[in-house]
Protein backbone atom coordinates (compact mmCIF):
# COMPACT_ATOMS: atom_id res chain seq x y z
CA UNK A 1 0.00 0.00 0.00
CA UNK A 2 1.21 3.48 -0.72
CA UNK A 3 0.89 6.86 0.97
CA UNK A 4 2.77 6.00 4.14
CA UNK A 5 4.73 8.97 5.43
CA UNK A 6 8.17 8.36 6.92
CA UNK A 7 8.43 7.37 10.57
CA UNK A 8 9.24 10.16 12.97
CA UNK A 9 11.09 10.40 16.27
CA UNK A 10 8.08 9.09 18.17
CA UNK A 11 7.19 6.22 15.84
CA UNK A 12 10.59 5.07 14.51
CA UNK A 13 10.96 2.21 16.98
CA UNK A 14 7.43 0.95 16.32
CA UNK A 15 8.05 0.86 12.58
CA UNK A 16 11.47 -0.71 13.13
CA UNK A 17 9.64 -3.58 14.82
CA UNK A 18 7.64 -4.20 11.67
CA UNK A 19 10.87 -4.70 9.72
CA UNK A 20 11.51 -7.70 11.98
CA UNK A 21 7.97 -9.04 11.98
CA UNK A 22 7.26 -7.72 15.46
CA UNK A 23 4.08 -5.96 16.53
CA UNK A 24 5.17 -3.58 19.27
CA UNK A 25 3.04 -1.78 21.81
CA UNK A 26 4.15 1.43 23.42
CA UNK A 27 4.59 0.64 27.10
CA UNK A 28 4.90 2.99 30.05
CA UNK A 29 8.11 2.32 31.98
CA UNK A 30 6.51 3.70 35.15
CA UNK A 31 3.08 2.07 35.34
CA UNK A 32 3.20 -0.60 32.63
CA UNK A 33 0.26 0.70 30.61
CA UNK A 34 0.33 -0.42 26.97
CA UNK A 35 -1.17 1.86 24.35
CA UNK A 36 -1.52 2.22 20.60
CA UNK A 37 -0.81 4.41 18.61
CA UNK A 38 2.42 5.75 20.15
CA UNK A 39 1.83 8.97 22.07
CA UNK A 40 3.98 11.51 23.86
CA UNK A 41 2.72 10.57 27.30
CA UNK A 42 1.15 7.68 29.15
CA UNK A 43 -2.62 8.07 29.29
CA UNK A 44 -2.77 6.34 32.68
CA UNK A 45 -0.04 8.06 34.72
CA UNK A 46 1.00 10.91 32.40
CA UNK A 47 4.55 9.58 32.53
CA UNK A 48 6.86 10.29 29.61
CA UNK A 49 9.29 7.41 30.01
CA UNK A 50 7.82 5.25 27.30
CA UNK A 51 9.30 2.19 25.63
CA UNK A 52 8.00 -0.79 23.69
CA UNK A 53 7.10 -4.39 24.41
CA UNK A 54 6.19 -7.03 21.88
CA UNK A 55 2.54 -7.93 21.57
CA UNK A 56 1.40 -11.51 21.10
CA UNK A 57 -0.13 -10.44 17.80
CA UNK A 58 -3.43 -12.03 18.72
CA UNK A 59 -6.70 -10.21 18.99
CA UNK A 60 -10.38 -10.14 18.15
CA UNK A 61 -12.38 -8.13 15.66
CA UNK A 62 -13.87 -5.22 17.62
CA UNK A 63 -15.82 -4.01 14.59
CA UNK A 64 -15.26 -3.79 10.85
CA UNK A 65 -16.57 -2.50 7.55
CA UNK A 66 -16.29 -3.82 4.03
CA UNK A 67 -15.30 -0.89 1.82
CA UNK A 68 -16.85 -0.95 -1.64
CA UNK A 69 -15.63 2.37 -3.00
CA UNK A 70 -11.92 3.02 -3.16
CA UNK A 71 -10.50 6.37 -2.11
CA UNK A 72 -7.34 5.86 -4.19
CA UNK A 73 -6.15 3.82 -7.17
CA UNK A 74 -3.91 1.34 -5.33
CA UNK A 75 -6.77 -0.13 -3.31
CA UNK A 76 -8.93 -2.78 -4.98
CA UNK A 77 -12.45 -3.06 -3.60
CA UNK A 78 -13.90 -4.65 -1.66
CA UNK A 79 -11.48 -4.60 1.25
CA UNK A 80 -11.92 -4.63 5.01
CA UNK A 81 -11.22 -1.86 7.49
CA UNK A 82 -11.33 -3.16 11.04
CA UNK A 83 -10.72 -2.22 14.62
CA UNK A 84 -8.82 -5.10 16.20
CA UNK A 85 -8.72 -5.38 19.97
CA UNK A 86 -5.35 -6.84 20.80
CA UNK A 87 -5.03 -9.44 23.54
CA UNK A 88 -3.15 -6.83 25.58
CA UNK A 89 -6.15 -4.45 25.47
CA UNK A 90 -5.40 -1.64 23.03
CA UNK A 91 -7.42 -1.26 19.85
CA UNK A 92 -5.68 -0.76 16.52
CA UNK A 93 -6.97 0.08 13.09
CA UNK A 94 -6.01 -2.43 10.43
CA UNK A 95 -7.36 -4.58 7.66
CA UNK A 96 -8.50 -8.21 7.65
CA UNK A 97 -7.15 -10.50 4.94
CA UNK A 98 -7.70 -13.99 3.57
CA UNK A 99 -11.43 -14.21 4.20
CA UNK A 100 -14.54 -12.37 3.14
CA UNK A 101 -17.02 -13.41 5.83
CA UNK A 102 -16.28 -11.63 9.08
CA UNK A 103 -18.11 -11.31 12.37
CA UNK A 104 -17.46 -9.12 15.36
CA UNK A 105 -15.55 -11.20 17.89
CA UNK A 106 -13.68 -13.32 15.34
CA UNK A 107 -10.21 -14.26 16.58
CA UNK A 108 -7.35 -12.97 14.43
CA UNK A 109 -3.56 -12.97 14.36
CA UNK A 110 -1.19 -10.41 12.93
CA UNK A 111 0.92 -10.85 9.84
CA UNK A 112 2.99 -8.34 7.93
CA UNK A 113 2.67 -6.98 4.41
CA UNK A 114 6.04 -5.69 3.19
CA UNK A 115 6.27 -2.07 2.07
CA UNK A 116 8.71 -0.84 -0.55
CA UNK A 117 10.96 0.87 2.00
CA UNK A 118 11.51 -2.24 4.15
CA UNK A 119 8.87 -1.43 6.71
CA UNK A 120 5.79 -3.65 6.87
CA UNK A 121 2.13 -3.03 7.50
CA UNK A 122 0.50 -5.14 10.20
CA UNK A 123 -2.66 -6.84 8.94
CA UNK A 124 -4.78 -9.55 10.50
CA UNK A 125 -5.85 -13.00 9.36
CA UNK A 126 -8.34 -15.40 10.91
CA UNK A 127 -6.74 -17.47 13.64
CA UNK A 128 -6.91 -21.21 12.83
Amino acid sequence: MSQLPPEDELTAEWWAGTRNGQLLLQTCQDCGRRQHHPRNLCLSCQGTDLGYTEATGEGVVDTFTLVHRSPRPDLQVPYVIARVRLAEGPVMLSTLVGDSEWQIGDAVRVEFQPLSDGRALPVFRRMQ
Binding site: M1, Q3, L4, P5, H36, T63, V67, S70, I81, I104
Partner: protein, 380 residues
Amino acid sequence: MTVAIVGAAECDLGVTGKSVLQLQVQAVTRALADAGLQLSDVDGLATNNIGRFSTTELAQELGIRPAWAESTFVGGSAFESYVARAVQAIEAGQAEVVVISFASNQRSARSRSLGGVVEEHLPAAQFETPYGPLYPLSYYAMAAQSYLHRYGASSADLARVAVAAREWALLNPQAYRFGAGPLTVDEVLQSTMISSPLRAADCCLVTDGGGAVVLTSAARARDLRSRPVNVLGYGEATGVAGMAAADDILDTGAAISAARAFGAAGLTPADVDVAEIYDSFTITVLLSLEAIGFFGLGEAAAAARDGVLDPGGRLPVNTSGGGLSYCHPGQFGVLLLVEAVRQLRGEAEQRQVAGAEVALAHGTGGILSHHSTVLLGVDR
Protein backbone atom coordinates in the same frame (compact mmCIF):
# COMPACT_ATOMS: atom_id res chain seq x y z
CA MET B 1 -29.53 32.53 30.38
CA THR B 2 -30.25 35.94 28.99
CA VAL B 3 -29.46 35.62 25.30
CA ALA B 4 -31.81 35.02 22.39
CA ILE B 5 -31.63 34.12 18.72
CA VAL B 6 -33.36 36.94 16.86
CA GLY B 7 -32.57 36.13 13.24
CA ALA B 8 -32.15 32.97 11.16
CA ALA B 9 -31.77 32.28 7.47
CA GLU B 10 -30.41 29.89 4.89
CA CYS B 11 -28.23 30.92 1.98
CA ASP B 12 -28.97 29.29 -1.38
CA LEU B 13 -28.90 25.51 -1.04
CA GLY B 14 -28.30 22.58 -3.32
CA VAL B 15 -26.18 23.13 -6.42
CA THR B 16 -25.61 26.87 -6.49
CA GLY B 17 -22.59 27.55 -8.70
CA LYS B 18 -21.75 30.33 -6.23
CA SER B 19 -18.59 31.03 -4.25
CA VAL B 20 -18.26 30.47 -0.52
CA LEU B 21 -18.09 34.21 0.18
CA GLN B 22 -21.13 34.89 -1.98
CA LEU B 23 -23.11 32.28 -0.05
CA GLN B 24 -21.77 33.63 3.26
CA VAL B 25 -22.92 37.14 2.41
CA GLN B 26 -26.35 35.79 1.50
CA ALA B 27 -26.61 33.94 4.81
CA VAL B 28 -25.48 36.88 6.93
CA THR B 29 -27.56 39.58 5.23
CA ARG B 30 -30.68 37.42 5.12
CA ALA B 31 -30.39 36.55 8.82
CA LEU B 32 -29.87 40.22 9.72
CA ALA B 33 -32.85 41.22 7.60
CA ASP B 34 -34.89 38.58 9.40
CA ALA B 35 -33.82 40.14 12.70
CA GLY B 36 -34.40 43.70 11.52
CA LEU B 37 -30.76 44.56 12.19
CA GLN B 38 -27.99 46.08 10.07
CA LEU B 39 -24.42 44.99 9.42
CA SER B 40 -23.38 48.05 11.43
CA ASP B 41 -25.05 46.49 14.48
CA VAL B 42 -22.83 43.40 14.35
CA ASP B 43 -19.91 43.39 16.78
CA GLY B 44 -19.42 39.63 17.07
CA LEU B 45 -18.73 37.10 14.32
CA ALA B 46 -18.31 33.32 14.37
CA THR B 47 -17.63 31.23 11.29
CA ASN B 48 -15.20 28.75 9.70
CA ASN B 49 -14.50 26.98 6.40
CA ILE B 50 -13.66 30.14 4.44
CA GLY B 51 -9.91 29.86 4.67
CA ARG B 52 -7.17 29.79 7.26
CA PHE B 53 -8.34 33.21 8.48
CA SER B 54 -12.08 32.68 8.23
CA THR B 55 -13.35 35.40 10.56
CA THR B 56 -11.10 38.12 9.16
CA GLU B 57 -11.95 37.14 5.59
CA LEU B 58 -15.65 37.40 6.35
CA ALA B 59 -15.29 40.63 8.34
CA GLN B 60 -13.39 42.08 5.40
CA GLU B 61 -16.03 40.93 2.92
CA LEU B 62 -18.78 42.46 5.05
CA GLY B 63 -16.82 45.63 5.84
CA ILE B 64 -17.16 45.29 9.61
CA ARG B 65 -14.67 45.26 12.50
CA PRO B 66 -16.15 42.96 15.14
CA ALA B 67 -14.98 43.30 18.74
CA TRP B 68 -15.33 39.54 19.17
CA ALA B 69 -14.60 36.71 16.75
CA GLU B 70 -14.66 32.94 17.05
CA SER B 71 -13.59 30.17 14.68
CA THR B 72 -13.00 27.01 16.69
CA PHE B 73 -12.87 24.08 14.30
CA VAL B 74 -14.39 20.87 15.64
CA GLY B 75 -16.38 19.75 12.59
CA GLY B 76 -20.06 20.27 11.92
CA SER B 77 -20.95 20.68 15.58
CA ALA B 78 -18.96 23.93 15.75
CA PHE B 79 -22.05 26.06 15.30
CA GLU B 80 -23.79 24.75 18.40
CA SER B 81 -20.57 25.57 20.24
CA TYR B 82 -20.54 29.04 18.72
CA VAL B 83 -23.95 29.57 20.33
CA ALA B 84 -22.39 28.72 23.68
CA ARG B 85 -19.49 31.12 23.05
CA ALA B 86 -21.83 33.83 21.82
CA VAL B 87 -23.97 33.58 24.95
CA GLN B 88 -20.84 33.89 27.07
CA ALA B 89 -19.58 36.87 25.06
CA ILE B 90 -22.91 38.71 25.18
CA GLU B 91 -23.37 38.03 28.89
CA ALA B 92 -19.82 39.23 29.53
CA GLY B 93 -20.40 42.42 27.58
CA GLN B 94 -17.82 41.57 24.93
CA ALA B 95 -20.37 41.74 22.12
CA GLU B 96 -23.95 42.85 21.74
CA VAL B 97 -24.98 41.40 18.38
CA VAL B 98 -23.31 38.16 17.26
CA VAL B 99 -23.71 36.55 13.84
CA ILE B 100 -22.93 32.84 13.50
CA SER B 101 -22.64 31.83 9.86
CA PHE B 102 -21.49 29.06 7.57
CA ALA B 103 -21.49 28.37 3.87
CA SER B 104 -20.01 25.77 1.57
CA ASN B 105 -20.03 25.26 -2.18
CA GLN B 106 -18.61 21.73 -1.92
CA ARG B 107 -21.06 20.31 -4.46
CA SER B 108 -20.46 22.94 -7.10
CA ALA B 109 -16.71 22.95 -6.44
CA ARG B 110 -16.50 19.12 -6.31
CA SER B 111 -14.18 19.57 -3.36
CA ARG B 112 -15.20 16.49 -1.35
CA SER B 113 -12.93 13.43 -1.42
CA LEU B 114 -13.78 9.93 -0.19
CA GLY B 115 -10.61 9.52 1.82
CA GLY B 116 -10.89 12.90 3.51
CA VAL B 117 -8.05 15.31 4.13
CA VAL B 118 -4.83 13.58 5.18
CA GLU B 119 -2.52 15.62 7.42
CA GLU B 120 0.84 13.92 7.21
CA HIS B 121 2.10 15.12 10.58
CA LEU B 122 -0.77 13.58 12.53
CA PRO B 123 -1.02 9.98 13.82
CA ALA B 124 -3.73 8.89 11.40
CA ALA B 125 -1.38 9.36 8.43
CA GLN B 126 0.88 6.58 9.74
CA PHE B 127 -1.58 4.36 11.58
CA GLU B 128 -4.86 4.63 9.67
CA THR B 129 -4.58 6.11 6.18
CA PRO B 130 -2.34 3.28 4.87
CA TYR B 131 -5.30 0.90 5.21
CA GLY B 132 -7.61 3.10 3.14
CA PRO B 133 -10.57 3.94 5.37
CA LEU B 134 -13.13 6.27 3.87
CA TYR B 135 -13.15 9.37 6.03
CA PRO B 136 -15.42 9.88 7.86
CA LEU B 137 -17.68 7.22 6.36
CA SER B 138 -15.84 4.04 7.37
CA TYR B 139 -15.80 5.04 11.02
CA TYR B 140 -19.54 5.56 11.10
CA ALA B 141 -19.88 2.27 9.25
CA MET B 142 -17.88 0.50 11.96
CA ALA B 143 -20.06 2.16 14.59
CA ALA B 144 -23.14 0.99 12.73
CA GLN B 145 -21.77 -2.57 12.51
CA SER B 146 -21.14 -2.51 16.22
CA TYR B 147 -24.61 -1.10 16.97
CA LEU B 148 -26.38 -3.76 14.89
CA HIS B 149 -24.33 -6.49 16.55
CA ARG B 150 -24.72 -5.25 20.12
CA TYR B 151 -28.43 -4.55 20.04
CA GLY B 152 -29.66 -7.06 17.47
CA ALA B 153 -30.87 -4.30 15.16
CA SER B 154 -30.94 -4.58 11.38
CA SER B 155 -29.97 -2.55 8.33
CA ALA B 156 -33.70 -2.00 7.84
CA ASP B 157 -33.75 -0.10 11.14
CA LEU B 158 -30.99 2.20 9.90
CA ALA B 159 -32.90 2.60 6.66
CA ARG B 160 -35.98 3.66 8.58
CA VAL B 161 -34.10 6.78 9.76
CA ALA B 162 -33.54 7.80 6.14
CA VAL B 163 -37.21 7.13 5.39
CA ALA B 164 -38.27 9.44 8.24
CA ALA B 165 -35.95 12.19 6.99
CA ARG B 166 -37.46 11.89 3.52
CA GLU B 167 -41.00 12.15 4.90
CA TRP B 168 -40.04 15.45 6.53
CA ALA B 169 -38.25 16.66 3.38
CA LEU B 170 -41.40 16.14 1.35
CA LEU B 171 -42.93 18.89 3.53
CA ASN B 172 -40.05 21.36 3.02
CA PRO B 173 -39.82 23.15 -0.35
CA GLN B 174 -36.19 24.07 0.43
CA ALA B 175 -35.21 20.39 0.76
CA TYR B 176 -32.97 18.90 -1.91
CA ARG B 177 -35.26 15.84 -2.04
CA PHE B 178 -38.52 17.83 -1.77
CA GLY B 179 -39.75 16.68 -5.13
CA ALA B 180 -38.18 13.23 -5.01
CA GLY B 181 -41.20 11.41 -3.62
CA PRO B 182 -41.26 9.05 -0.66
CA LEU B 183 -38.37 6.73 0.13
CA THR B 184 -38.98 3.13 1.17
CA VAL B 185 -36.91 0.87 3.38
CA ASP B 186 -36.45 -1.46 0.40
CA GLU B 187 -35.11 1.39 -1.73
CA VAL B 188 -32.56 2.24 0.96
CA LEU B 189 -31.56 -1.43 1.22
CA GLN B 190 -31.15 -1.61 -2.56
CA SER B 191 -29.02 1.52 -2.81
CA THR B 192 -25.31 1.13 -3.50
CA MET B 193 -23.23 -0.32 -0.67
CA ILE B 194 -20.46 2.13 0.19
CA SER B 195 -18.89 0.88 3.42
CA SER B 196 -20.92 -1.90 5.01
CA PRO B 197 -23.45 -1.77 6.52
CA LEU B 198 -23.89 1.81 5.28
CA ARG B 199 -25.34 2.27 1.80
CA ALA B 200 -25.62 5.41 -0.27
CA ALA B 201 -29.05 6.20 1.18
CA ASP B 202 -27.67 5.92 4.73
CA CYS B 203 -25.31 8.80 3.96
CA CYS B 204 -26.05 12.50 4.02
CA LEU B 205 -26.30 14.52 0.86
CA VAL B 206 -23.30 16.33 -0.57
CA THR B 207 -24.66 19.78 -1.39
CA ASP B 208 -23.81 23.45 -1.28
CA GLY B 209 -25.52 25.50 1.38
CA GLY B 210 -25.33 27.13 4.74
CA GLY B 211 -27.02 29.67 6.89
CA ALA B 212 -26.71 32.14 9.72
CA VAL B 213 -28.27 32.98 13.05
CA VAL B 214 -28.15 36.29 14.93
CA LEU B 215 -27.96 36.49 18.71
CA THR B 216 -28.35 39.37 21.12
CA SER B 217 -29.39 39.97 24.71
CA ALA B 218 -32.89 38.86 25.62
CA ALA B 219 -33.61 42.43 26.69
CA ARG B 220 -32.72 43.86 23.30
CA ALA B 221 -34.42 40.93 21.57
CA ARG B 222 -37.81 42.03 22.86
CA ASP B 223 -37.52 45.30 20.90
CA LEU B 224 -36.83 43.51 17.61
CA ARG B 225 -39.30 42.42 14.99
CA SER B 226 -39.26 38.64 15.33
CA ARG B 227 -40.35 36.46 18.20
CA PRO B 228 -37.17 35.82 20.24
CA VAL B 229 -35.94 32.28 20.73
CA ASN B 230 -34.12 32.02 24.02
CA VAL B 231 -30.99 29.96 24.59
CA LEU B 232 -31.92 27.77 27.56
CA GLY B 233 -28.77 25.72 27.92
CA TYR B 234 -25.78 24.22 26.18
CA GLY B 235 -23.21 21.53 26.69
CA GLU B 236 -20.22 20.11 24.86
CA ALA B 237 -17.90 17.13 24.94
CA THR B 238 -14.65 16.75 23.05
CA GLY B 239 -13.42 13.24 22.39
CA VAL B 240 -11.03 11.46 20.06
CA ALA B 241 -9.86 12.07 16.51
CA GLY B 242 -8.61 8.61 15.59
CA MET B 243 -10.53 5.57 14.41
CA ALA B 244 -8.98 3.27 17.02
CA ALA B 245 -8.73 5.74 19.90
CA ALA B 246 -12.16 5.21 21.44
CA ASP B 247 -12.19 2.12 23.63
CA ASP B 248 -15.91 1.63 22.95
CA ILE B 249 -16.87 2.97 19.55
CA LEU B 250 -20.49 3.47 20.67
CA ASP B 251 -19.57 5.56 23.73
CA THR B 252 -19.30 8.87 21.95
CA GLY B 253 -19.51 11.68 24.49
CA ALA B 254 -22.89 12.84 23.22
CA ALA B 255 -24.41 11.75 26.53
CA ILE B 256 -22.09 14.09 28.41
CA SER B 257 -22.80 16.98 26.08
CA ALA B 258 -26.56 16.53 26.34
CA ALA B 259 -26.52 16.06 30.13
CA ARG B 260 -24.64 19.34 30.50
CA ALA B 261 -27.18 21.14 28.34
CA PHE B 262 -30.20 19.70 30.17
CA GLY B 263 -28.57 20.45 33.51
CA ALA B 264 -27.96 24.07 32.57
CA ALA B 265 -31.52 24.47 31.30
CA GLY B 266 -33.19 22.60 34.14
CA LEU B 267 -34.95 20.43 31.58
CA THR B 268 -35.16 16.75 30.69
CA PRO B 269 -35.54 14.99 27.33
CA ALA B 270 -39.28 14.69 28.04
CA ASP B 271 -39.52 18.51 27.80
CA VAL B 272 -38.28 18.59 24.19
CA ASP B 273 -40.94 19.15 21.53
CA VAL B 274 -38.73 18.97 18.46
CA ALA B 275 -35.20 17.59 18.00
CA GLU B 276 -32.76 18.62 15.31
CA ILE B 277 -30.07 15.92 15.34
CA TYR B 278 -26.96 15.97 13.20
CA ASP B 279 -27.61 13.22 10.66
CA SER B 280 -24.37 12.74 8.80
CA PHE B 281 -25.42 9.09 8.55
CA THR B 282 -28.45 7.14 9.70
CA ILE B 283 -26.44 5.59 12.54
CA THR B 284 -25.54 9.04 13.86
CA VAL B 285 -29.21 9.69 14.60
CA LEU B 286 -29.77 6.45 16.51
CA LEU B 287 -26.63 6.89 18.59
CA SER B 288 -27.40 10.54 19.33
CA LEU B 289 -31.04 9.99 20.25
CA GLU B 290 -30.02 7.33 22.76
CA ALA B 291 -27.11 9.30 24.19
CA ILE B 292 -29.28 12.38 24.63
CA GLY B 293 -31.71 10.27 26.62
CA PHE B 294 -34.75 10.16 24.37
CA PHE B 295 -34.49 6.37 24.30
CA GLY B 296 -32.64 3.68 26.17
CA LEU B 297 -29.50 2.15 24.65
CA GLY B 298 -30.44 0.07 21.63
CA GLU B 299 -34.04 1.31 21.67
CA ALA B 300 -33.90 4.09 19.08
CA ALA B 301 -33.94 1.49 16.29
CA ALA B 302 -37.35 0.24 17.38
CA ALA B 303 -38.57 3.83 17.76
CA ALA B 304 -37.56 4.61 14.18
CA ARG B 305 -39.24 1.40 13.04
CA ASP B 306 -42.44 2.42 14.84
CA GLY B 307 -42.55 5.83 13.15
CA VAL B 308 -41.77 7.82 16.29
CA LEU B 309 -39.42 10.14 14.35
CA ASP B 310 -41.80 10.74 11.43
CA PRO B 311 -44.14 13.67 10.79
CA GLY B 312 -46.93 13.13 13.31
CA GLY B 313 -44.70 10.91 15.46
CA ARG B 314 -44.16 11.29 19.18
CA LEU B 315 -40.66 12.81 18.75
CA PRO B 316 -40.37 14.94 15.62
CA VAL B 317 -36.73 14.62 14.49
CA ASN B 318 -35.00 16.57 11.73
CA THR B 319 -38.10 18.41 10.61
CA SER B 320 -36.26 20.06 7.70
CA GLY B 321 -35.50 16.68 6.17
CA GLY B 322 -32.04 16.77 7.73
CA GLY B 323 -28.68 16.17 6.18
CA LEU B 324 -30.10 13.02 4.65
CA SER B 325 -32.79 14.66 2.51
CA TYR B 326 -32.70 18.47 2.91
CA CYS B 327 -29.14 19.80 2.71
CA HIS B 328 -25.68 18.80 3.85
CA PRO B 329 -22.98 21.32 3.03
CA GLY B 330 -20.16 19.47 4.81
CA GLN B 331 -20.93 21.04 8.17
CA PHE B 332 -24.63 20.89 8.97
CA GLY B 333 -24.68 22.45 12.44
CA VAL B 334 -25.89 25.93 11.57
CA LEU B 335 -28.88 24.53 9.71
CA LEU B 336 -29.95 22.57 12.81
CA LEU B 337 -30.22 25.94 14.54
CA VAL B 338 -32.07 27.62 11.67
CA GLU B 339 -34.71 24.89 11.62
CA ALA B 340 -35.08 24.86 15.42
CA VAL B 341 -35.69 28.62 15.37
CA ARG B 342 -38.33 28.30 12.65
CA GLN B 343 -40.14 25.59 14.57
CA LEU B 344 -40.16 27.64 17.77
CA ARG B 345 -41.43 30.71 15.95
CA GLY B 346 -44.20 28.69 14.34
CA GLU B 347 -42.89 29.52 10.86
CA ALA B 348 -42.29 26.00 9.57
CA GLU B 349 -45.46 25.89 7.46
CA GLN B 350 -46.37 22.37 6.30
CA ARG B 351 -43.84 20.76 8.61
CA GLN B 352 -44.66 22.83 11.70
CA VAL B 353 -44.75 20.85 14.95
CA ALA B 354 -47.87 22.13 16.65
CA GLY B 355 -47.20 24.02 19.86
CA ALA B 356 -43.43 23.52 19.83
CA GLU B 357 -41.96 25.40 22.80
CA VAL B 358 -38.63 23.65 23.41
CA ALA B 359 -36.22 22.55 20.69
CA LEU B 360 -32.95 20.69 20.92
CA ALA B 361 -30.13 21.04 18.40
CA HIS B 362 -27.40 18.44 18.69
CA GLY B 363 -24.28 18.68 16.58
CA THR B 364 -21.72 15.95 15.91
CA GLY B 365 -18.29 16.77 14.51
CA GLY B 366 -15.57 14.67 12.93
CA ILE B 367 -15.88 10.93 13.49
CA LEU B 368 -18.22 11.08 16.49
CA SER B 369 -15.39 13.22 17.86
CA HIS B 370 -17.09 16.35 19.15
CA HIS B 371 -20.59 16.82 20.48
CA SER B 372 -22.44 20.01 21.17
CA THR B 373 -26.00 20.38 22.39
CA VAL B 374 -28.12 23.52 22.50
CA LEU B 375 -31.58 23.84 24.05
CA LEU B 376 -33.78 26.63 22.75
CA GLY B 377 -37.18 27.83 23.90
CA VAL B 378 -39.91 30.28 23.00
CA ASP B 379 -39.95 33.57 24.89
CA ARG B 380 -42.72 33.50 27.48
